[in-house]
């Protein structure tokens, strides 16, 4: 199973390249057809803009700002979400009484909170981190609660008959048992962190890639805007890939034991 994942099948690689080529061709055809506004850049212009962007200091500075805000917010959310989630999920009474709050919180459109947070903190990186953290908190929290709640009856009996002390139970049974769910929450929220960070920058003009996209748009530098978009996507994809690999390694037992 893991071996298959590691060796890339040449046929599959070819198919994937083909899919990318088809997308680029469609894009070029649409641009030539004149359906889109005449300023829409073609594949070559975007590629050139990507090339010039990657060598510009402004790009790296804004990428750094975005990453810093996304990463900080995400880490805060992961720490708070797993801690709180394990507590809530392992204490049935707390779980029952807090479920209405958590259901409300997770359905709340966090981006709508942004104006309020701006009012309180101003249009800066600190505000951005807070909004990212608030957005990332819910997937981590909800997944962690699911994971901690879902304890096999047979495992519960085993732990009871062998009189495993509470702390040991938490560390070696509850936590690893909840880990696959926590990992999913962490992965989902990582993608969300980049998404929200860029979104906040677009809307609030806090420094970062999002702001550069807005600036490029306002200056009518469409090719540059697309180049930035491309990098925003690339970063999100890279992070997802990284976490997937880490998860497959660290939680090998889960894939093997549960298919």
């Amino acid at each position: 199973m893991s071996n298959q994942a590691r060796t890339v099948d040449p046929g599959l690689a070819l198919q994937r390249l083909l899919a990318v080529a088809v997308l680029l061709a469609v894009w070029q055809v649409v641009v030539f057809s004149g359906v889109l506004p005449s300023m829409t850049p073609g594949v070559v212009e975007i590629a050139a803009a990507i090339g010039s962007t990657i060598t510009s200091a402004v790009f790296w500075a804004s990428l750094g700002k975005t990453m810093l805000a996304a990463l900080s917010g995400w880490l805060i959310a992961v720490a708070a979400g797993t801690g709180l989630g394990l507590l809530v999920g392992s204490l049935p009474r707390l779980d029952r009484s807090s479920s209405i709050l958590i259901d409300f919180g997770r359905s709340f459109p966090v981006l709508a909170l942004m104006p309020v947070v701006i009012m309180m903190l101003g249009s800066n990186t600190r505000m951005e981190i807070v909004v990212v953290a608030l957005s990332c908190l819910w997937p981590v929290l909800v997944q962690t609660i699911y994971g901690a709640r879902r304890q096999e009856a047979a495992v519960v009996d085993t732990v009871r008959t062998f009189r495993i002390p509470k702390l040991l139970w938490f560390r070696r049974v509850l936590l690893p048992g909840a880990m696959p769910f926590i990992a999913t929450g962490i992965r989902i929220s990582a993608s969300i962190s980049i998404l929200v960070a860029v979104g906040v920058e677009v809307l609030s003009q806090a420094p970062g890639i999002g702001r550069q996209i807005t600036l490029a748009q306002q200056a009518q530098h469409w090719d540059k805007a697309f180049a930035y978009l491309f990098f925003a996507g690339l970063v999100g994809w890279g992070i997802a890939l990284l976490l997937q690999t880490a998860e497959a390694r660290l939680l090998k037992w889960n894939r093997q034991a549960n298919g």
Partner: protein, 268 residues
């Protein structure tokens, strides 16, 4: 091999170890009360192998859960070594039917066996050594680094047995332990448990719906039936210490005992 338990040779022991008096258990209350066990008595001598046999749904698992301290009975007393059981007890170790779920998939088999010892506060080197010894005792020498999901069902159940043995309890409680393995594996596991009982002198209480299994394994078969369930017969097997899947089951006394149990179960 220096594996625990003081009593050996096992069979023909006389010292009273476990005593159940008037065990009554029900779920719900009032008009909705569902009585499962009624006034059940049971005596187990040290080193004895007792099978509890009864039809499916009679309340065998409920009985075993009461004996292991996982369920508090409505009435009656259970004691082991003169001590009243009010909850899970260090003298009792349980092997569950659902072995694949009772082993923790994120731990190696060694860690699974050593885990209850860690709970007792035993140091790492000592508990790992004890785990390896007990894995060897169930025929899994050198398999400590494997994970449960790398093993067959029969091997997983051996790990669960090793875990219970390593816990060094006086009584091993087994709930339909071989119900979900194939026939050949089942015979192998039955013979393993007989060997462990004979060599280590551990007291075993095994619950099963299989009359042949109950007779083949035990020194004493306790038949439970009726609703609510109670003891309807107790049979001392007297087939001797050495058992053989073919010869013991062909013994005329085996056939006689089986007929007697079948009659008892049919009458109720």
């Amino acid at each position: 091999m220096s594996l625990q338990t003081a009593h050996s040779p096992a069979r023909r022991a006389t010292e009273q170890l476990m005593q159940v008096r008037g065990l009554t258990m029900s779920y719900g209350s009032g008009a909705a009360e569902n009585k499962i066990l009624q006034d059940l008595d049971l005596d187990v001598r040290a080193g004895e192998f007792v099978s509890i046999v009864g039809p499916s749904g009679v309340g065998k698992t409920t009985l075993l859960r009461c004996l292991s301290g996982l369920l508090a009975p409505k009435a009656g007393t259970i004691s082991v070594g003169g001590q009243q059981i009010t909850g899970p007890h260090p003298d009792l170790a349980v092997v569950f039917q659902d072995y694949s779920r009772s082993l923790l998939p994120w731990m190696s088999t060694r860690e699974n066996v050593a885990f209850p010892l860690q709970g007792k506060g035993m140091g790492k080197a000592e508990r790992n050594a004890l785990a390896d010894r007990n894995l060897a005792a169930v025929g899994l020498a050198g398999q400590g680094d494997k994970y449960p999901w790398e093993m067959s069902g029969g091997m997983q159940q051996r790990v669960a047995i090793a875990r219970a043995l390593a816990y060094n309890a006086k009584v091993l409680l087994m709930d339909e332990p071989f119900a979900s393995v194939d026939a050949q594996t089942r015979f192998d596991l039955e013979d393993l448990v007989i060997d462990l009982h004979t060599n280590l002198g551990v007291t075993v209480i095994l619950v099963t719906h299989d009359i042949d299994e109950a007779l083949y394994l035990a020194d004493k078969v306790v038949v439970i039936a009726e609703k609510p369930a109670t003891v309807v017969d107790v049979i001392e097997t007297n087939f001797g210490e050495v058992r053989d899947q073919v010869e013991t089951k062909a013994d005329p006394r085996f056939a006689e005992a089986r007929a007697r149990i079948l009659h008892r179960l049919r009458d109720h």
